[in-house]
Symmetry: C2
Subunit: 402 residues, 2 copies
């Protein structure tokens, strides 16, 4: 559970879980989320060309009708499964539609787990009644547990703000630990609010919220085939619908949804496979977003930087080498400053004169730290959250299928 | 020592080694290579913006005069050391110039090791007489040992071909194990021949040779600050100088130098930090070189693919996910085939119908294997050599400075 332990349910949104035995014995691996009629729902999905069958189907269904149910399983990604994978995803939606008294295209399916194995649809469909029977507004915690794969903790966040004197709640959950370098959305994240808002504005709100949160984290640079982030607005708070993108109400909602997404994204990196450190890479003074991101991700993906972080070794030469090989045209190394926390490590093309190993070590010993690169070429900045590369990352991913 | 154990010296090229105590106690860490007067010499260097002081100085000196000596140290990269680093590199060249009876700008300096620490010039200069005293044409093996850092084996290759009835020899050595994703050249490689050739053609020959060899290998994606590859031609074979880039003699030389570079590059990846597997990634049917390389390097750098290789796990879904996230516009996944050795794993957007886990496992159990991706979009192909990601990679790089 996250630092924010008071989890507020969203009136009308009920979650049910079940153990379908998809991959893991003796634990829940299936989640049904029921949305009240009239809920606005929007989502962003992975940009991986090999996106999974459930991603394709969810994207399709979302365009047809407002969804009534979300159906999520862990243990199997139903990705790289071709036509069979799509048939299986459809079959699961049809199974739930029967129980939920709706049509199959009112269901959004999501899968996470091993890629390339066929989804055991019979077992999944058999477990649906169990999940439907325990639907409850208080099911967020159980659901966050059921969607975990290599995650070690469930990830849940609630935030509230006030509109017209009424409290508005935003609650979300996410999973993800490896194959994390989201491109549009994270592995799986579900955020709900009781605010009332048009679908167009809800979509815009989600786009704004994922950019500095899920789209700015990386564990291993591997963009998943199944990333999805869903934002649902029930409108059941009783407050007037938000219809104006310039209104204070809309700005408040965007700020709160963004905060929830940032917290969830942070929780994913903190729980990155084998991670022992949470590292913020901040690049400032770039000419444009592309070069800022290039420098930030080159550092965040460098196995040499990541293993030095694991060792708490202020081996700043590896950060310097990463900056030097990033794709930036005519980089003037004389202008660059690199900081570890509040300690300047590089200035004038080499080690800062006032740098001491002790000062660098003191920052490296922290479990959360910032690497800041000032390029002094322009005004653009970007932030990326990442973690270190440890023995456990190798162990987890060398043993994952066994 | 490499598979090719008969190492042929190059007449006139003498190598001397010494223990300067730069970082490692009780081993040689200094190499002097003496070139006979009249030797043509060319080199390619790293494109890392933070290139080391010796790289800058070697590049500069190479343009001024034909070099008489190469001076190489391991244990300290003299990179990220600013103006002080350049002064130190110059001081070392001046020290050798005195002993070698030449000018300081006739010396090319090279350093490899830890980034960001000051080069201990006094110790290095003190050890120069020792290296000069044991200069010998048979010094290749000792030199290849002295330039090692995290390497576990020295890397040496000799090849011969015939011109005008005379044998022409090409002999080379290289070092490199981590921070390997050369961009123009590898960590350090020195290749010599007794062929006679103009400097312009020698430069062209080196460019052609490094493209499919050193520029097509990656251990960890980290392009070093100190990469350099030097090609020397003494002309002492007594065969007519090569002056025509279209001549059969030139083609023979290019083929042989390329072969030597390919062998050395292969030896570097085989000795990659912690590597247990040598993996060739072959991408074919691309529209252009850029997309072919994007797919190949996305696979070769994926920590998830690399840990699966370490586990000998035919977890082909990770390869598929890597292809899907590579930067290729409008990738049609229906056309793609992915092969593990001679086993087709992906076809028609999902797992190949005839794939069996046993067949995949049999390929994965090999210590050398090929991952082949057929994009079916065009005629361009590219090859990249890489290795797996093991516990030992993390251990070596977490412990490197201690």
């Amino acid at each position: 559970m996250n630092a924010n332990t008071t989890l507020a349910p969203i009136t009308g949104i009920r979650l049910g879980t079940a153990a379908a035995g998809i991959k893991y014995p003796d634990r829940n691996d299936l989640v049904v989320i029921e949305l009240p009629v009239g809920t606005a729902c929007t989502a962003v999905f992975t940009r991986n060309a090999f996106c999974a069958a459930p991603v394709q189907l969810a994207r399709q269904n979302l365009e047809l009708r407002p969804p009534r149910y979300l159906l999520i399983n862990s243990g199997n990604a139903n990705a790289g499964t071709g036509k069979q994978g799509m048939e299986d995803a459809v079959a699961c939606c049809e199974g739930l539609a029967e129980l939920g008294d709706c049509t199959a295209n009112q269901i959004l399916p999501f899968s996470t787990g091993v890629i390339g194995e066929r989804l055991p649809t019979a077992r999944l469909i058999d477990a649906l009644p169990q999940a439907m029977n325990n639907l409850t507004e208080y099911g967020w915690n159980a659901a966050a547990q059921a969607i975990m794969t290599t995650d070690t903790v469930p990830k849940l966040v609630s935030r509230q703000f006030t509109l017209e004197g009424h409290p508005i709640t935003v609650t979300g959950m996410a999973k993800g630990s490896g194959m994390i370098r989201p491109d549009m959305a994270t592995m799986l994240a579900y955020v709900a609010t009781d605010a009332a808002i048009t679908k167009t504005l809800l979509q815009e709100c989600l786009q704004q919220a994922v950019e500095p949160s899920f789209n700015a984290i990386t564990v291993d640079g591997d963009t998943s085939t199944n990333d999805a982030c869903v934002l649902m607005a029930t409108g059941m708070s009783g407050v007037s619908p938000i219809t104006d993108g310039k209104s204070a109400a809309y700005q408040k909602l965007v700020a709160t949804v963004t905060e929830v997404c940032m917290e969830l994204a942070r929780a994913i990196v903190r729980d990155g496979e084998g991670a022992t450190k949470l590292v913020e890479v901040l690049v400032e003074g770039a000419k444009n977003k592309a070069e800022a991101k290039s420098v930030a991700y080159t550092i965040a993906h460098s196995p040499l930087v990541k293993t030095a972080l694991f060792a708490s070794d202020p081996n700043w030469g590896r950060i310097l080498a990463a900056v030097g090989r990033a794709e930036v045209e005519n980089l003037d190394i004389e202008l660059i400053q690199i900081w570890l926390g509040d300690v300047c490590i590089v200035r004038n093309g080499g080690r800062a004169e006032d740098y001491t190993e002790e000062a660098g070590q003191a920052v490296m010993d922290q479990s959360e730290l910032t690497i800041r690169v000032a390029l002094d070429r322009g005004e653009v900045e970007t932030r990326v959250l990442t973690c270190d590369l440890s023995y456990d990352y190798v162990r987890i991913n060398a043993e994952y299928r066994t």
